[in-house]
Each structure stands twice: as structure tokens, then as C-alpha cells.
């Protein structure tokens, strides 16, 4: 990560979809997220994932490597989070720790047992989660945070809250830049070869300095904005973006497709 470039954020600013209405993108991604949550893993979630990927790599022109990189964090969580779901707990008393190997109902790992049912549950979770995450990333890589903040006004969230969130976004990049620069300066003077004990105070010093700098900046920003006429509201022009029926209809068609295939699959399976 780098101050100028949180990968998703940079993609959102460069996205050809930036000029689309935020509401339309929220509607599309939101529906895909809900579909990933509510539909069956097969074919619903798989189709959601496919649609999100195709839209991102196709019309939204997001680099495949970026999508792959961004999926890293959720994948790690899924790995850790689904492990306990895949395994059943048979209690300490039931099985000795030395118990390792195939049992009648699955693979035993001491008091844990990995069963086919557990693996199926874990796989279903993976499907829901990966599809949902891709649908969220579709929104995140095509819509800068500030556009979303502006859109939140529709939900009647009070202005001061939106302003604070927007300022947080601006200060975030300043603070991140400062913190990373301080860490680099510490490494340049061999901060990373200090004793383990000293390294802790070095991290604390970096954070403390960054905090003081940001505090100071926030105060100076206040003074700077007062000079530009700031009294109690951070007014800006919000861009007007045309409604796109093509976009809405295509999105609608995708969703209808996913749901009808899901329905068809369920009916066919039940027959």
C-alpha cells in the first residue's frame, strides 16, 4: 500500500464508470450482493461472481491483477474462518489428541473431525463470500469514496456526518503518506535492525509523530478553510450525471438471468 495509491481507490478514480450515476452503480452492486447472500451457491453465487468479474474486467476496465490482489484479504479470512466450519468438534473427552486419521465419518484431527458435510458447508460459504466480495469490489473499483459520500445525502444522513467522513478520506491519505514516510526514514537510519524491544518504541514513536502531524494539519486546514469562507458547511458543487437506461436494463437483465437460472435449477433438481 502506498499513500497515492490504495489500489482500489486509484482504480475507482480512473474508472470509465466514474461518470455513471452513483445510484445506478449502488443499485447494481447492491442487488448482486444481496443475490450472492440469498441465492444458492450453485448456480446463483457462481453466476453473481461471473457477472461481477465480467463487468469489472470488461466495460469497467479493471486490471485482472488488481482484482486478484484485492481478493487477498478476504481469501485469508475465508481460509481461517471456514476451517472451524469444515470441522466438527467432538469434545476433549470424546477423542484423545493422538487420534489422527480416517474415521468412519471423516478425517479425525484430535477432537476435531473433518466430514464431507462440513466440507460442503465450507464450500457453500466460500461461494457466498467470494461472490459477495466480488460484487462489493465492483462498486468499490468504479466509484470513489467521495462520490459515495455525496450519494449518502439521499439517505438523509446529516451533513456534518458526511462532511466528517469526507474529511476523513482526505486526511487518511495525508496521514498514510506521513506514516509511511516516517517508517522509511526510520529504516534509513537502521530502525529495523534495532533490538526487538527498541523496535516497539520505534513503531510507537512513528505513530505518535504521525498523530501529532495530523492533528496539527487538521488545525491548519481549519484555519486555511476559514480563509476561503468556511463557516459551518463544506459546500461543493456535485456533478450532475445522466441516467442511463441501457445500464439499468443490462443490470436488470443480468439479475433476472441469475434468478431465473437459480429457479430453474431448483425446480429441475426437485423433479
Amino acid at each position: 500500500m502506498n499513500a497515492q495509491n490504495i489500489a482500489i481507490d486509484a482504480a475507482a478514480w480512473d474508472s470509465p464508470w466514474r461518470r455513471r450515476r452513483v445510484g445506478e452503480k449502488v443499485l447494481l452492486s447492491g442487488s448482486l450482493v444481496m443475490t450472492a447472500l440469498l441465492s444458492d451457491p450453485w448456480p446463483g453465487c457462481v453466476l453473481v461472481a461471473a457477472v461481477a468479474l465480467v463487468l469489472m474486467l470488461g466495460p469497467a476496465r479493471i486490471r485482472p491483477l488488481l482484482v486478484l490482489g484485492v481478493m487477498g484479504a478476504p481469501a485469508v479470512f475465508l481460509l481461517i474462518g471456514t476451517l472451524p466450519v469444515a470441522a466438527t468438534w467432538h469434545g476433549m473427552g470424546d477423542l484423545a489428541w493422538g487420534n489422527l486419521g480416517w474415521a468412519t465419518d471423516g478425517f479425525a484431527l484430535g477432537p476435531l473431525r473433518i466430514t464431507p458435510g462440513g466440507v460442503a458447508r465450507a464450500a457453500a460459504l466460500w461461494a457466498h463470500s467470494l461472490a459477495g466480495t466480488l460484487a462489493v469490489i465492483l462498486l468499490a473499483t468504479t466509484t470513489p469514496m467521495v462520490d459515495l459520500m455525496g450519494w449518502l445525502r439521499i439517505l438523509r444522513i446529516p451533513d456534518p456526518l458526511i462532511e466528517i467522513a469526507s474529511l476523513t478520506y482526505r486526511l487518511l491519505f495525508l496521514l498514510l503518506g506521513t506514516t509511511l514516510a516516517i517508517r522509511e526514514a526510520q529504516r534509513a537510519r537502521l530502525g529495523d535492525v534495532a533490538s526487538w524491544r527498541r523496535r516497539w518504541s520505534i513503531v510507537a514513536n512513528a505513530l505518535g509523530s504521525a498523530l501529532i502531524t495530523t492533528w496539527d494539519r487538521a488545525t491548519r486546514l481549519q484555519a486555511g478553510l476559514e480563509g476561503r469562507g468556511y463557516e459551518d458547511a463544506l459546500l461543493t458543487l456535485s456533478p450532475t450525471r445522466a441516467r442511463s437506461w441501457a445500464f439499468l436494463l443490462t443490470g436488470g437483465a443480468c439479475l433476472a438471468g441469475i434468478w431465473s437460472s437459480s429457479l430453474a435449477w431448483t425446480l429441475w433438481g426437485a423433479r
Partner: protein
């Protein structure tokens, strides 16, 4: 200095650091409409403090700021009016940019003036165009370079169409071509400009008038102030090369007064050529 009444003035200004030490003590400063004033002085001498007082951002401990002869009262309504006429651009662009999107940020000032969105929008486009940054309108501020962010802050001030533009170190950190472009942009503005800088060569080349902050006071005068060795030393400045070279060549510095002070390379070359051809050194 001029018979024309000053557009913006500070009278007997006293300003203190938050700690209590005085930065300015009974300092006076005036700018006449249409003039370009370069403000020089050491680090910490009080240049920025003076600019902040002039802009209304800082209330002086004592003394008065006057616009067009009218003293500024520091209440909300007067300040609002003052800020519409006098705009200060700080040195560090991150102290004035708050929005992630360039166009939105520039629109902040005009909207604060109470303009309707259409009028504000046309002001924004106009000043983006003037600063040559229309191509950055949709970019996020945090991805811009330092020089680009400086232009955005100036655009934000220009969009308010101030009568006086106060600039604190606008050329610091810019490459030479960037400095030249910025100075050309300033020439296009109709505002009166006060520009604080450490660059004495640039000050001599650009300004109609100089103001040097030293010893808690402001000394104002013509470019020949930069020939006064004791003043320069007190203000931690150096003699601009233009004057330094002529002194080295044995020219009579007393002759280089007022409008006879050479500013550009061409001026200096002309003085040297004339003296080589036997004419007196003016």
C-alpha cells in the same frame, strides 16, 4: 509612497505568537490598487503573519487592517465581506484543500460567496482554465503532484475573483519552468498581488514594489532597497545577482536608483554594454 489611496493597508499592527512573543510590533504596510508587491524576509520574520492579518484570518493583537479606507471589524459579517475581496493562498497546499475532487474543491469558495450553482460552475471553469489545470478537474487531490496542488489552491482563490490576492511562497518547490508558468499566470490576473518569497532575484525581476519584514517591522520601497547592504543583512537576504554583478564590475551603485535599477538579464546586459561603450553607467 504613492498619492493614490491604498487599497489594502495595515496600521500599527501588533501580532504575537501563541507563546506570547511579538512577531510584528507597530508594523505598517500598504498596497495600492494594481501594484505587484514582493514581500521578503527571513524565515520566522513574520511574513506569513502579516499576510494572515491582511487576509483577516488572524486578528491582530493591536492595530488595524483597512480595505479601501474602511477599517476591518473582525465580526462575522465584515470578515465575510473582506474574504470576498482579499484571498490568501498558503504555502502548503494541503492546508487549504479539503475535497478529494479538484473541481469540487475549487467550487467551495464561489459557493461560500452565495453564488448559485450555474454561476459558481462558470467561475470554476474559468479559473481552472486560467491556471491551466482544466485537465485535472476530475482528478483526486491526493494523486496530484505538489506543483499541481499548488495550482489548485491558487485556482480556488482566483475563483472568488478577489481584488487582492496574497500568495505565500507560491514558487517554493516548483521547477524553473513551473515558476515561469506561474509568473505568466499572475500577469494575466487583474487582481492586485502581494507575493511572499525567499527568492530575491525573482522579487527584483517581477515586483513593482518591495516590502521587507525585519525587526518586527515592514520596510517598503522600490527595488533599490535590495542594494542596501545593512538592510539585507538584517533581513537575512542576499543582494540579487543583478546588483551584485554590477557592484563587482565597479559600477556606481548610487546611480542605480529607483527606475534605473536593472531587473532582467537584458537590463543588466544593457547597462554593461553602455558602460563598455564609454557612456556613464546609467
Amino acid at each position: 509612497m504613492k498619492s493614490a489611496p491604498p487599497l489594502l493597508a495595515a496600521h500599527r499592527l501588533v501580532a504575537r505568537f501563541p507563546g506570547g512573543d511579538a512577531v510584528l510590533r507597530q508594523a505598517n504596510f500598504t498596497v495600492t490598487r494594481g501594484r505587484r508587491v514582493a514581500l521578503l524576509g527571513a524565515n520566522g520574520s513574520g511574513k506569513t503573519t502579516l499576510l494572515r492579518c491582511l487576509s483577516g484570518a488572524l486578528k491582530p493583537a493591536e492595530g488595524e487592517i483597512a480595505f479601501d479606507g474602511q477599517p476591518l471589524r473582525h465580526d462575522r459579517v465584515s470578515l465575510r465581506g473582506h474574504r470576498a475581496r482579499v484571498q490568501l493562498v498558503l504555502q502548503n497546499p494541503d492546508e487549504q484543500l479539503f475535497s478529494a475532487d479538484v473541481r469540487q474543491d475549487v467550487s467551495f469558495g464561489p459557493l461560500n460567496l452565495g453564488l448559485d450553482p450555474a454561476a459558481a460552475s462558470s467561475r470554476v471553469e474559468e479559473s481552472l482554465d486560467l491556471l491551466g489545470i482544466t485537465h485535472l478537474a476530475e482528478r483526486p487531490v491526493h494523486q496530484l503532484s505538489y506543483g499541481e496542488r499548488k495550482r489548485v489552491t491558487i485556482a480556488g482563490a482566483v475563483a472568488m475573483r478577489p481584488q487582492v490576492l496574497l500568495l505565500d511562497e507560491p514558487t517554493a518547490g516548483l521547477d524553473p519552468a513551473g515558476v515561469a508558468e506561474l509568473m505568466q499566470t499572475l500577469d494575466k490576473l487583474s487582481s492586485t498581488v502581494v507575493l511572499a518569497t525567499h527568492d530575491v532575484d525573482l522579487a527584483l525581476m517581477w515586483a513593482d514594489e518591495l516590502a521587507i519584514v525585519t525587526g518586527h517591522l515592514v520596510r517598503q520601497g522600490g527595488p533599490d532597497m535590495l542594494a542596501d547592504a545593512s538592510l539585507l543583512e538584517a533581513a537575512r537576504l542576499r543582494r540579487p545577482w543583478q546588483l551584485d554583478l554590477l557592484a563587482h564590475l565597479g559600477h556606481d551603485m548610487e546611480m542605480l536608483r529607483g527606475d534605473h535599477v536593472p531587473r532582467t538579464v537584458a537590463d543588466v546586459a544593457a547597462v554593461i554594454s553602455r558602460s563598455a561603450s564609454g557612456a556613464p553607467t546609467r
